[in-house]
Each structure stands twice: as C-alpha cells, then as structure tokens.
C-alpha cells in the first residue's frame, strides 16, 4: 500500500505495522465487515416480512394455513440455528437447481442423483458455471440472506404473533362496532397498533441477529471470523513477508470489541425509538410490560 512497504524485512515498529495492516489480505478482512453489515441490513427487513407472513398464517382461520404458520414457528425455533445452516443452504441450492432443471431441460434422460452426485444440465446450474466470479459471490450472498431470513423470520413471526394478541380487545371491538370487516380491522387497527407491542421483541431479535452473524462462514460467505482466523494464525517466513506467531487472540479480541460496540450503538438507537413510539401511548412503557426486554449495558 505505502511505498516504503516494498521490503518489509527492513521495517520496524509502527511502519511495519502500517504495512502489515494494509496487505491485500487485511483489506479483504475490512471488506468482510462491510459484507456482514450489508447482510444484516438486508436480512432484517426480509426476515420481518417472513415473520409477518408467518404470524398472519398462524392466526389464520383456515386450519391448514394456521398449522403451517405454527409449524414453521415451532420447527425452526426448536432446532439450533447452526444445525439448520449446515444443511439448509445445500438443500436450497439443489432445490433451486432442480426446479430450473425441470423447467429448462425436459428432455434430460440421465438421473439427477448419480450416486452421491447431484447432476443437473448445464443450463440449470445456479449460477451458470460460465458466469463471472462476482455472480457466484452475489448468489452465495443471497442464499445466506435467505437462510438467515427463514430462521429469523420464525422468531419474528413469534414476536408479531404475540404482539397481535396483545392489542387490547377493546380496540378491535370498537372497529367491529363501526362495522369494519375483518380485513379492515386487520389493516387499520391491528397492524398499526401491534408495532409498539412488537418493538421490544423485535429489537431483541435485532440484537440476536447481530450476534448470529459470525455463523455466516457456515454459509460459505467469507466473513470476519474466517479472516480473523486466517490472519491470526502463525505465519512462517517462507510464505509471507510478515511472519508472526499465533495472534488469533488479538484478532478475536478485536472482533469482540467490534460486536460490543455494534450492539451498544444499536441498543441506544432502539431505546430512543422505543421512547418515541411509546410517547403518549397508554402502555406501561418502562414498567412491567417491558420486563426483561430492555437490553443490558452500562448506562
């Protein structure tokens, strides 16, 4: 990066460090922070959407739909997320390719499962094997987003389901008295009212989501944990210009500080939002209704 970095062996102290911290590998490490933030920013609304769908389904009067919604919530919440991540992405990937295969290659005569191999025609590959590397990266990223959204959608559904039930019965009865239909009540009363009840749970979920992001590397995205492990491990002089011992502890300490800072900032922001939303609301904001829901931390 800097001109004096050409011969790192001669450098010492801060100059060495400045060169070391700006190697291509370290730049990838810094980029990975961007990837993680982007994933969080994209996943949160998608998961909320899934959650909304799940909650509406679970509340549905149509029995199969209600079972589906409740089953989705119970199933995903009952399984450790890590176990889910370990096979879901491959399953999803193969599922997509299988569907494309059915659509694009109806004349294919070979079996799709040949022993352990999963073989679909070349046109059905996602992404096409001829496409550029960045297409693969973007596709992998979206698979990760989708997987995260499914898992956290179940949690969000759980929160929204509870929030919809928490809307005071009197409010809904008032709507009925005005002659609103069920759909109108849902749209004009239930949904606008439920957010204030859902917010503590949702902000908690956001914290959980932040803290689940190191599992990204399970989904094949090169995240900060991957790079911290790679960069921190012992480097012998033969293969690098910057040999060093086992520095993983320092890299992980850095990650720890990053996450503490990130959750702290989120906490403050969400607290402000909550205060604003509960302003003038007839809830116990700050009282019993929020038992155990406020995030921890030194004030």
């Amino acid at each position: 990066m800097f001109s004096y970095c050409a011969d790192p062996d001669t450098l010492e102290g801060l100059r060495w460090l400045s060169c070391y911290l700006t190697t291509g590998k370290h730049l990838s490490f810094y980029w990975a922070f961007g990837t993680v933030l982007l994933l969080l920013a994209v996943t949160a609304p998608v998961a909320l959407l899934f959650g909304f769908g799940g909650a509406v389904a679970a509340r549905s009067r149509v029995a199969p739909l209600a079972w589906f919604g409740k089953g989705y919530i119970a199933l995903v919440r009952g399984v450790p997320d890590i176990a889910f991540f370990l096979f879901f992405v491959i399953a999803l990937d193969q599922g997509i390719e299988w569907l494309r295969h059915q659509a694009k290659c109806p004349d294919w005569d070979q079996p799709i499962r040949q022993g352990n191999d999963f073989v679909v025609c070349a046109e059905a590959k996602m992404p096409l094997s001829t496409s550029a590397q960045w297409v693969h990266e973007v596709y992998g990223f979206w698979l990760a987003v989708f997987t995260f959204a499914i898992v956290f959608g179940a949690f969000a559904a759980n929160v929204l389901f509870g929030a919809m039930r928490a809307v005071p019965r009197a409010q809904i009865e008032t709507g009925e008295a005005y002659g609103m239909t069920r759909a109108q009540i849902f749209r004009r009363i239930l949904v606008p009212q439920m957010w204030v009840y859902a917010l503590p749970g949702l902000s908690n979920l956001w914290m959980v989501l932040i803290k689940a992001s190191p599992l990204l590397f399970l989904l094949g995205v090169e995240d900060i944990v991957y790079w911290a492990r790679e960069l921190g491990s012992t480097k012998t002089p033969q293969f690098t210009d910057y040999p060093h011992g086992d520095w993983r502890m320092w890299y992980f300490l850095f990650l720890l500080v990053f996450y503490l800072g990130f959750t702290r900032v989120s906490e403050i922001a969400l607290d402000r939002l909550m205060r604003r939303l509960t302003h003038g609301q007839a809830t116990l904001g700050g009282g019993a209704g929020r038992a155990g829901m406020t995030e921890a931390g030194p004030p």
Binding site: G140, E222, S233
Partner: protein, 244 residues
C-alpha cells in the same frame, strides 16, 4: 456452505487463446487455502503455493479457463458433489474411502510421508495425545494407532495445540510440517518414524465428470513427461522431495 470466495483468478491463457476460445470451458478449482506449501493465501489474499502453480499449468495445457475458489476443508467434498465447484485441488490424498464417493485424476504428487512433530523427543506417539486435522487420513490413522486423538478444524490449530501443550504431538503431512519445524528454532522436532498413507495426491472430481477427468489426466501426464512437474515439486518442497 456455498462456495467461499477469495480470489477470483481468471487465467489469461497465453498460447492459442484466441484459437481455443470458442470451446473453452470454465472450470472452478476448489481449494482450502490454509495448507502451505500446498495451498495458502499470500499477503495479497490470493491463492498461492504448489497447487496454485500446478493447477494453473494443468489448466493452460488442457486449454481450460480456471477460477480458484476456497472452501473450508470439512465441507470440501459435499460442496464438490453438489456442484459448487468442479475439482478439488487441496492436498487431498487418494484413498479408497474417498474414491468411493468422488473420482481422482492420477496423482500429481507421489505418496508423501506423514510425520509426527512434538515439542520433545521423548513423546510416545502411540500412546500420548496426538492432534490432527479432522477428517484427514492422518486423523483416521491416529484413531487406529491407539493414541488419544485430539481433532482440530485446521492444521494450523493442530500444530498450535502442540506448542501450547494441549497435545503431545501432531500428525500431518511431512511437507506441511517441515517449514514449521524449521521456523520454530528447535522448539518443535520430528519424532517417531514417518508413515506413508494414501496413494499420493490427486485432483478430486465428481464421478459423473469422466470427460473432465480425462482432460486433466492428460495434462498431468504431459507435465510428468516433460519434467515440469518435478521442477515445481522441487521448487516448493525442497531438494530432498520425492519426485516422479
């Protein structure tokens, strides 16, 4: 567990690029990127090492466009089988167990010895705690040998376990251990006898990819014939390395 991506190295093929362009096929090479000198990430974050050079040369000779992809070792075969990349070129020994699930080209490295490294000479590699990377042939060997196996996700961590006393010895490919022992300044030493496992190291492929296998096989054969493969082996593994 989709593909992990680091460095996309699209190879600019020199000779006859224009001519072959019409039927040039893109092949994605999967590697681990954490096993020097076989494969590792250099300071710029690109895949480097013996296998990088072999892979690039094989692709050039077979007139393929190749892209390097890195993937964690423990999921490297499932991701090959489900088609996230087309080959594994990651210091993978050819074993019967793996051969049942995937195919291998002929080896591009003769059967290499595995060795024990410990912090002192007195370690009993048959009885003490021995560290190895999970799901390697070395881990299987240690489990069979009667020693207490301690498994780590990366070879790096397995070596670190010996340094910090978690394990008495580490068992891994000798070629991987040599530079570490040299750099340790006497802290680590080889103990016990070398063990030969597997049938050498080859490129792993899906069993359904017979055509690609033949192409790569021919390219490796031509590198063996003109001695360029031996040159690479000597360059990366030192003058004493076994050659073809």
């Amino acid at each position: 567990m989709k593909t992990l991506i680091l460095s996309s190295a699209v190879l600019a093929l020199t000779a006859g690029a224009a001519l072959a362009e019409s039927h040039m096929q893109t092949v994605r090479l999967g590697t681990e990127g954490a096993y020097p000198p076989y494969n590792f990430l250099n300071d710029a974050g690109e895949v480097d090492g013996f296998e990088r050079e072999v892979g690039d040369e094989v692709c050039a000779r077979a007139e393929l466009t190749c892209e390097w992809v890195t993937n964690d070792w423990d999921s490297i075969i499932p991701n090959l089988v489900s088609g996230n990349y087309d080959t594994i070129i990651a210091g993978m020994s050819i074993t019967d167990e793996r051969d049942e699930v995937i195919d291998f080209t002929q080896n591009y490295l003769p059967p290499a010895p595995s060795a024990y490294v410990a912090a002192s000479e007195e370690v009993d590699v048959m009885g003490d705690v021995v560290a190895a990377q999970t799901t390697t042939i070395q881990a299987g060997h240690v489990a069979d040998s009667g020693a207490a196996l301690l498994e780590f996700a990366t070879p790096e961590e397995a070596v670190a376990a010996v340094r910090n006393g978690e394990a008495e010895a580490v068992f891994a490919d000798k070629d991987f251990l040599v530079p570490i022992v040299e750099a340790s300044g006497g802290e680590l030493v080889f103990v016990g006898e070398d063990v030969s496992l597997g049938n050498g190291i080859g490129i792993g492929l899906r069993e359904s990819d017979g055509e690609l296998r033949e192409t790569l096989d021919a390219a490796i054969q031509s590198m063996k014939d003109d001695g360029s493969l031996n040159e690479l082996i000597l360059k990366w593994f030192g003058e004493d390395a076994q050659t073809f």
